[in-house]
């Protein structure tokens, strides 16, 4: 921040007789606030300010915004603390300054130090207010947030503590404090993670348990960084080399994603909006996350096959399938949400797919609408714990109940997907199940359930050479040993969204009778069914309706 003299055209009396550095700064702030004409839309301006990390941002926000999202609140709180520190340490004339000096002299414990600084802040706040004649109502809100118990701890300290605890947990025998148990450390760590990264306690624990402590931190860190922008060449219209050349001519800086795909390009920077170039409009490429290539590559559709995409909007994977089919055979693109059908058909037409049928069913109705497919792709609706960097809302809005409801729906869908496939297909008979979630409940547990309920399928290799193997055991649960053929992808390891891919091969159209004994480890509500699962029973139909309603509600809520 540069120091200017206060602008001369403001005619208020000077703030103090002896203008200190801080006062000049405050005056500057005030003139900034009062004198700025807002040219940008509010949100843009706000993010700009936030990105500059400037104290004006919070003041500006506090004075102009009535509604604050969770994210804004958090960063405001952080910024607040930081800013206040700056103010309190640098000023020389204001009375509470003694407090800090005293505190330094006495070399108090960290906690008390913090308390004192807080105290100081609280004292400065009102004077700041008066000085800047801002909207008091909003300031009250800010102050309330300051008093929030969790925020008493400084954010950088929490970070430090997280690192320390992870270190201790890595070498527990030697570094531990004998008075504390491992659980104590874990509890502390989880609480800190929840605070520092802004997760709900429940979700923080759920995700933390997937990894070793050090890796878990990497995972949480990776969720704060956006993934690279990637595009997929539409081989129905062009070749990757030609597309790359055309885009480079438009000032786009790009490079192939990796050796594993022949159609993907990673965009580093672009002078033009990448979603509105003439090439995009002409359907030469699709904006698509790198992880979205994986399920289609695993599905590996062959020409002249009939393929079903059960949850297809907005059509990235559907058009990829059609491109691999080279517009032969046909693709059924289904999606549950009618509103998303528009963008789905738009993408299908834009990319020149001529063999698609778009329909709007609940995926669970599927073998009844039409069955006998050669291959089925089920990119199931999920909690989205793999795409937190894209949608940070997941951090707080997923509850324990979601992790019962969503897997329940997924289990129903995966059985329907399996039943929609014709095992006698000459070239096919495959089902790919994928989610953009990393939790075990939505992935291995669902696949394991499908294997139990449908002994006429087996897992086969996905055909993708990288990715971590799926869990065969997880926290006391044992899954089918073939689950190591499924693949997990993590943001911190593969620099793509968290993802899960499993590929089934159906070898018989008959569903053999269950032997009975091997089914009862799983304690969810589906476990008590025996034999082939049908959802038309009375008890199930209520559950079905219920979960459909919830799903719709969720979607509305998301919008």
């Amino acid at each position: 921040m540069k120091n200017h003299n206060p602008s001369p055209r403001r005619s208020e009396p000077p703030l103090r007789l002896n203008p200190s550095r801080m006062e000049r700064r405050l005056h500057l702030i005030r003139s900034k606030i009062l004198g700025t004409t807002c040219l940008l839309p509010q949100t843009t301006r706000m993010t700009n300010l936030m990105m500059m990390n400037s104290p004006w941002a919070l003041i500006w926000i506090a004075t102009t915004t009535s509604k604050l999202t969770m994210m804004m609140r958090r960063s405001m709180k952080r910024m607040m603390l930081r800013t206040m520190m700056v103010f309190s340490h640098k000023s020389t004339t204001i009375s509470w300054q003694d407090l800090i000096q005293k505190q330094r002299r006495n070399n108090l414990s960290t906690k008390t130090k913090m308390m004192k600084t807080k105290e100081a802040m609280r004292m400065t706040l009102p004077s700041l207010l008066v000085l800047m004649s801002v909207n008091l109502a909003n300031w009250k809100l800010v102050r309330l947030m300051l008093e929030d118990e969790e925020d008493q701890a400084d954010i950088s300290q929490i970070n430090h503590r997280i690192k320390e605890v992870v270190n201790i947990l890595g070498n527990f025998k030697e570094l531990r404090d004998p008075a504390k148990s491992r659980q104590d450390y874990l509890d502390r760590l989880l609480k800190d993670i929840a605070t520092y990264y802004g997760y709900s306690d429940f979700l923080a624990e759920k995700l933390f348990n997937l990894f070793a402590p050090a890796e878990a931190i990497e995972f949480f860190e990776a969720n704060e960084v956006p993934r690279p922008v990637t595009i997929r060449t539409n081989t129905l219209r062009t070749r990757r080399r030609d597309l790359a050349q055309a885009l480079i001519n438009r000032g786009v800086n790009l490079e192939p994603i990796g050796k594993w795909t022949k159609v993907g390009l990673q965009v580093f920077e672009s002078q033009v909006p990448i979603g509105a170039t003439p090439e995009y409009l002409a359907g030469h490429y699709m904006l698509q996350a790198a992880s979205s290539f994986l399920p289609v590559m695993a599905l590996a559709p062959q020409e002249h096959e009939r393929v079903l995409d059960m949850a297809s909007a907005p059509g990235g994977k559907t058009t990829h399938i059609a491109a691999l089919l080279k517009n032969t055979g046909m693709v059924f693109a289904n999606d549950f949400n009618k509103d998303r059908l528009k963008s789905l058909s738009a993408n299908i037409h834009r990319l020149g797919v001529k063999n698609a049928v778009v329909c709007n069913y609940d995926g669970r109705e599927f073998p009844k609408v039409i069955g006998g497919f050669d291959r089925v792709l089920l990119d199931a609706p999920c909690s989205g714990t793999g795409v937190i960097s894209k949608d940070p809302g997941v951090k707080v809005n997923k509850t324990e109940k979601d992790f019962i409801d969503i897997p329940h729906l997924q289990k129903q869908l995966v059985l329907c997907a399996i039943d929609s496939v014709d095992a006698n297909s000459k070239t096919g008979g495959y089902i790919v199940y994928s989610t953009c979630s990393v939790t075990v409940d939505e992935n291995e547990a669902v696949v394991n359930y499908a294997l139990r309920k449908r002994p006429n399928v087996k897992l086969v290799s996905t055909g993708i050479e990288f990715g971590r193997e799926g869990f065969t055991r997880y926290r006391g649960k044992t899954f089918h040993p073939s689950l190591d053929l499924t693949r997990r992808y993590y943001p911190h390891m593969h620099n793509m969204d968290g993802f899960y891919v499993a590929k089934f091969k159906k070898f018989s159209n008959k569903i053999p009778k269950q032997t009975g004994d091997n089914v009862d480890e799983d304690e969810d509500q589906d476990a008590n069914e025996s034999g082939p699962a049908t959802f038309m029973e009375d008890e199930d139909s209520t559950i079905l309706k219920d979960s459909m309603r919830k799903l719709q509600k969720n979607r509305k809520h998301k919008k």
């Binding site: 003439p278 409009l281 009939r306 693109a333 059908l341 963008s343 037409h349 049928v357 609408v369």
Partner: protein
């Protein structure tokens, strides 16, 4: 979903003939597979018979689209070509117009083609003839109607319109809600 009536077929073919003339026959008699036109919720779809047979099992309310959408029947009984038909139109078009790189974006924003942006045009294009607009690297951008014949357009001012805009691929973004 139903086949087109006699009258609907006539209006559709009249419209298509403006762009592809007698090439319509290539749309109907294809060597690879039998294709047909189907009407569904006022939209006309061009689709292979085998796909159409399979799509019959999808309910009317649930069916979103099948094959390629050519356009829609308006309430007054006219037919309106949509940008989604561009693939086939470009393939069989009789008359084409190429725009220079600096004219690409203005056209994609829905503006008419002006003389200054005109790169090339098929010889002997008459006035008020349906043309496909392409960029200099032969990527179809949309279609329109010529304002002047090829010979007349030579004498025009740089700012004069040579082709009226009808549809462009920018509509995939601008008109997504109304297109489907």
């Amino acid at each position: 979903m139903r086949p087109l009536t006699e009258e609907e077929t006539k209006t559709l073919f009249e419209k298509l003939a403006k762009y592809i003339g007698s090439n319509i026959k290539h749309l109907i008699d294809r060597s690879d597979e039998t294709y047909c036109f189907r009407l569904h919720k006022d939209r006309v779809y061009y689709v292979s018979e085998s796909i159409m047979r399979k799509a019959v099992s999808v309910g009317r309310d649930q069916l979103g689209s099948l094959g390629v959408c050519f356009g829609k029947m308006t309430k007054t009984g006219k037919f309106r070509l949509h940008i989604t038909a561009l693939d086939y139109l470009a393939q069989y078009a009789k008359h084409k117009m190429w725009v220079k790189p600096n004219g690409e974006m203005p056209f994609l924003y829905g503006n008419h083609v002006v003389k200054a942006h005109l790169g090339r045009v098929t010889e002997d294009t008459p006035e008020h003839q349906g043309v496909i607009v392409l960029n200099m690297s032969d990527v179809p951008l949309g279609f329109g109607v010529t304002a002047r014949s090829t010979s007349d357009s030579r004498k025009l001012q740089p700012t004069d319109i040579v082709a009226f805009h009808q549809a462009d691929i920018g509509e995939y973004l601008r008109e997504e809600d109304t297109l489907f």
